[in-house]
Symmetry: C2
Subunit: 321 residues, 2 copies
């Protein structure tokens, strides 16, 4: 089963999720509907709702609550992107214009707030206090991670800081997606914990691969400039591996002096990283996360969804790469 088939297994429910997201604007200002449509139109793989639905359906959670949960997860993700893009002044996401290029900063802040509100509402419509609590906790983890990043000093990032950061940024949401899906089922603590671990591991792998792609992709495929992280002074795993191996690289020295505006030097450094063994090392680390995700899947019932979750975990490492 390849990647496309994996997603086809639940394609009609993904459509229900998208419809539920759009329906959140009912009764509100028409511009909000336009904003939600615009944000959904950017496509994306809907990997978070996909993993939510697959986990929940495998564990026989209530289908309607699962749609609410998957929509809540995707909207929470979308709300953080709307505020992030505003903060970063990003012009494109997945190749389409960001909301902040079309709306004023004021309207963009409020659009993000509105999407947060919708996410909270959808989460509350799972009728599970536990899901709500996990959900709110995850939002605070994500935002705390962003604030920590914002207030942190320029310089080499340590591995542990990096891992904490990608947990807050990405893995925490995958983790709550699969854990909450399990909470909506009738399975016990062991299965919940396995679900949480699966989400955590693929979330970590997903962000590491994203950070690798930032070095290896052309602008046209990711819709943003190559080495955009480095340009923002964000030191990701490939850079950490590269820095360990080449501490004396003069372009690196320049960057560490806080000079990320010397385009030529920066491009040379990004190129050096992308051609170095650091890429393979980072991908290897991502694969180890995926391996742990595959390992934990064994405790689940043998069902088509389990196979899909296995395919999806593997796909995370091999997508577009």
């Amino acid at each position: 089963m390849n990647q496309v088939q994996t997603f086809e297994l639940i394609q009609d429910r993904i459509q229900l999720v998208e419809e539920r997201i759009i329906a959140q604007s009912d009764g509100h200002h028409p511009e909000l509907r336009a904003a939600l449509s615009h944000l959904l139109s950017s496509g994306g793989k809907r990997i978070r709702p996909t993993v939510t639905l697959l986990m929940g359906e495998m564990l026989e959670a209530d289908p309607d609550k699962l749609i609410n949960l998957a929509a809540a997860i995707e909207m929470l993700h979308t709300a953080t992107l709307v505020h992030d893009d505003l903060i970063d002044g990003a012009l494109l996401r997945r190749g389409i214009p960001t909301l902040n290029t079309q709306w004023t900063p004021a309207a963009t802040v409020l659009a993000g707030d509105f999407i947060f509100a919708c996410a909270a509402k959808l989460a509350s419509e799972t009728n599970s206090v536990t899901v709500m609590q996990m959900f709110a906790e995850t939002l605070s983890i994500i935002v705390n991670g962003e604030i920590t990043q914002l207030f942190s000093n320029w310089g080499i990032s340590h591995r542990n800081d990096y891992l904490k950061r990608i947990y807050a940024k990405t893995a925490s949401l995958f983790e709550v997606a699969t854990l909450a899906a399990a909470v909506l089922s009738n399975f016990g603590e062991d299965i919940r914990e396995a679900a949480r671990i699966y989400g955590y591991q693929i979330g970590m792998a997903f962000q590491i691969v994203d950070d690798v792609l930032d070095f290896t992709s052309e602008q046209s495929t990711v819709g943003k400039p190559v080495a955009s992280d480095l340009r923002q002074g964000l030191i990701t795993l490939p850079a950490i591996y590269y820095f360990d191996a080449h501490p004396d690289d003069p372009d690196l020295q320049l960057l560490l002096q806080g000079n990320n505006y010397q385009e030529e030097s920066l491009t040379r450094l990004a190129h050096a990283i992308s051609e170095s063994g650091a890429i393979g090392e980072a991908m290897n680390e991502a694969s180890q996360y995926v391996d742990r995700a595959l390992e934990v899947l064994k405790v689940f019932p043998k069902k088509p969804e389990r196979q899909s979750l296995e395919d999806l975990a593997k796909y995370i490492v091999y997508r577009d790469y």
Copy 2:
């Protein structure tokens, strides 16, 4: 019993609410604790948690859940203020510097998001799905109201638009405060509805009086320039009454042409409104809301808290005015 005594009745629980708010930053970035402390230090009357606690204690709701609810209400209010002040570029609130004067826009957006997350977490710690749902719905009403205001055209505001706006901005949060407090008690539907009505009525009165004070107060008492609403093109109830009575005022004509930068004309208009019968008419309308709040209080058990809620409703009309 006067206003100060009203608040003294629950002063120690208000302190618990404040401690619970500060505790939300535990385990997060130290700047967040600093931001929460700063925001709390601005004082304010804590009228929202006060009304929450009084209603909940009168109806014998669980004390600890009530503290969570009151803290959630105050944090939701605070989060919207943080984003509002950023959007408006406000420099002062209640006489102390706003967060956006001390933090970058990026950090201020994230601080607001963090406080939203804390509010959602505290609301979920009431362990009531109903409270959570009401809470999320209220957040979407508040934000939708702000977006509607942002996208609305300049010009005379109609009474109905004004009433809708102040419901979204203010009364919706008072309403959910008292309604959710009742939901946490064991009383039935009639008492819940009465609690909701009380919150709604005092919330509407509170905002009308606020809008009157914007015309009648000196800068030093409200910590912002007099007629700040008018300067932002925001037509509030005193202005609506004045416009009805003086449609040919040349300063008004200038304002309606979208010209709110002619300082002399604007000051003259603000002064004319503050000296006109419009102030009394608006205050009279606020009093009618308070009267309805007092009327509905009669269905509640005769307890000290009921007396305090009565005093509080009256205080709303007579504060600082």
